[in-house]
């Protein structure tokens, strides 16, 4: 089947089997390897991308379901050489160690902050409860998201 997606603003096409998982389309065929695979039971969230603006676990979506739709992955966060405040926040607040869960965390929180621009710590922990991290213990991930929320509220884009 022919699948056409707009990914990070760019139109891409591929010929795929219906059973091809979206995460494999993104990683293996479109060669955007920032989205990661961490489990096989839809728990870890390392594969989180935005499908038409909503975070989804791309390991639990068939590529054919994304046909004609818009995808945003971690590679699409930086715009014109400028990092998104979340990317800055994760660096400033030491929100990553091995970096493997980070793209998923970034994508989930990107959508979350659009909806909840002034979150409490509890809101943030709730929002990222579908993304597992083994390295950071989450404390600095929360701080990174708080940093970004503050920056976005101040008008930083």
């Amino acid at each position: 089947m022919r699948v056409q997606v707009t990914i990070n603003g760019e139109k891409r096409e591929a010929d795929v089997e219906p059973r091809l998982l979206l995460v494999h389309l993104i990683r293996d065929m479109l060669r955007l390897t920032g989205t990661h695979i961490g489990c096989d039971t839809t728990h870890c969230g390392a594969c989180t991308v935005l499908l038409d603006g909503r975070p989804v676990k791309s390991c639990t979506v068939f590529a054919v379901q994304a046909d004609g739709r818009e995808l945003l992955t971690v590679e699409g966060l930086e715009q014109n050489g400028k990092l998104h405040p979340l990317q800055e926040g994760f660096m400033q607040e030491h929100g990553l160690q091995c970096g493997y869960c980070t793209p998923g965390m970034l994508m989930t929180s990107y959508a979350f902050l659009k909806e909840t621009p002034n979150p409490t710590e509890g809101d943030i922990r709730w929002a990222i409860s579908g993304n597992l991290c083994r390295c950071t213990g989450y404390v600095n991930i929360v701080k990174s998201i708080q940093y970004a929320a503050a920056k976005l509220r101040q008008g930083g884009v």
């Binding site: 059973r19 096989d40 909503r54 068939f62 379901q65």
Partner: protein, 291 residues
């Protein structure tokens, strides 16, 4: 984690979907949220030769009160339920339930109707719909029929839907005055199935007597359980602490839990007792607030 091959169909309408189901019968599975189906396929515990993707069918994502019921369309996502002000205000039991299904990302795709159609005894909405006394709308090539929710769950992963039928809508009765509900789920962590879950929806008469009550139990049997004896004990009674405790004990007796990694039978039974009492108290609190 790689599924077996299948043929993929993307119907543009319900009738087209129904035709596909009729043609392929048991070989076809509906794909809506896919958050239960796709994991099973990745483990090759399910390998349907035909997948019928209904996600592009227009007009199925409605969540509205119309003609005497809250209507939840086939493509309403758990997130939509969770974030709906209408649901939070008027059907807090549904808000409670949607929040504890999977995790926030999974909820962006998982559908409410799918949660019922999949009929995993560990799914959460079934108990809630039993407590609410909802109706299921099933559409096949022969047209539409209504199935009352307490006839819907016939066995583990089995429903009253015929193989060629699609669950297109859930209808929840409009809330009456002095009604309240709550869903309490004990999970080991976010994203887990329930160790036990209890849904309570009740309506009080003006004098405070319990006029109507529905109690549904999650993951303590081969199907979701309607705790009929607990309900009967409360109906027409004053829901004081003694009545609550009595109903809670009866609900525990009506449960049929199996031992697993979450705990023993005795533990789960006692959880039903504890959670039923807590859910009743919460439902009463909400009923008192003029819900």
């Amino acid at each position: 984690m790689i599924p077996a091959s299948f043929e993929y169909h993307r119907p543009a309408s319900i009738s087209e979907a129904a035709t596909l189901l009729t043609r392929h019968g048991e070989d076809a599975k509906i794909l809506s949220g896919g958050q239960s189906l796709i994991p099973l396929m990745k483990l090759r515990l399910a390998a349907p030769p035909h997948i019928v993707d209904i996600n592009r069918i227009p007009g199925l994502a409605y969540l509205e009160e119309r003609n005497g019921a809250l209507r939840i369309g086939a493509l309403v996502r758990e997130t939509d339920l969770e974030k709906s002000d209408l649901v939070r205000a008027r059907y807090p039991i549904l808000h409670d339930t949607s929040r504890v299904i999977g995790d926030p990302v999974v909820r962006n795709l998982a559908t409410v109707c799918g949660n019922l159609a999949h009929a995993d005894p560990a799914n959460d909405h079934p108990a809630t719909m039993l407590a609410l006394g909802a109706q299921i709308v099933a559409v096949g090539s022969r047209g539409e029929r209504i199935i009352p929710v307490d006839e819907f769950f016939t066995g583990p992963f089995t429903t009253a839907l015929a193989p060629r039928e699609i669950l297109t809508e859930i209808r929840v009765p409009l809330p009456s005055l002095r009604s309240g509900g709550a869903y309490l789920k004990l999970e080991r962590k976010v994203g887990d199935f329930a160790t036990a879950g209890v849904a309570v929806q009740l309506t009080l008469a003006p004098d405070g007597i319990c006029q109507r009550v529905g109690i549904g139990l999650t993951n303590v049997g081969l199907t979701p359980i309607k705790a009929g004896r607990a309900e009967a004990a409360l109906r027409g009674a004053r829901p004081d602490e003694a009545a609550i405790e009595r109903a809670a004990r009866l609900a525990a007796e009506e449960s049929e839990p199996a031992e697993d990694l979450r705990g023993s039978e005795e533990y789960k039974r006692d959880l039903v007792r504890v959670l039923t009492a807590r859910a009743l108290r919460r439902a009463l609190e909400r009923a008192g607030k003029g819900g």
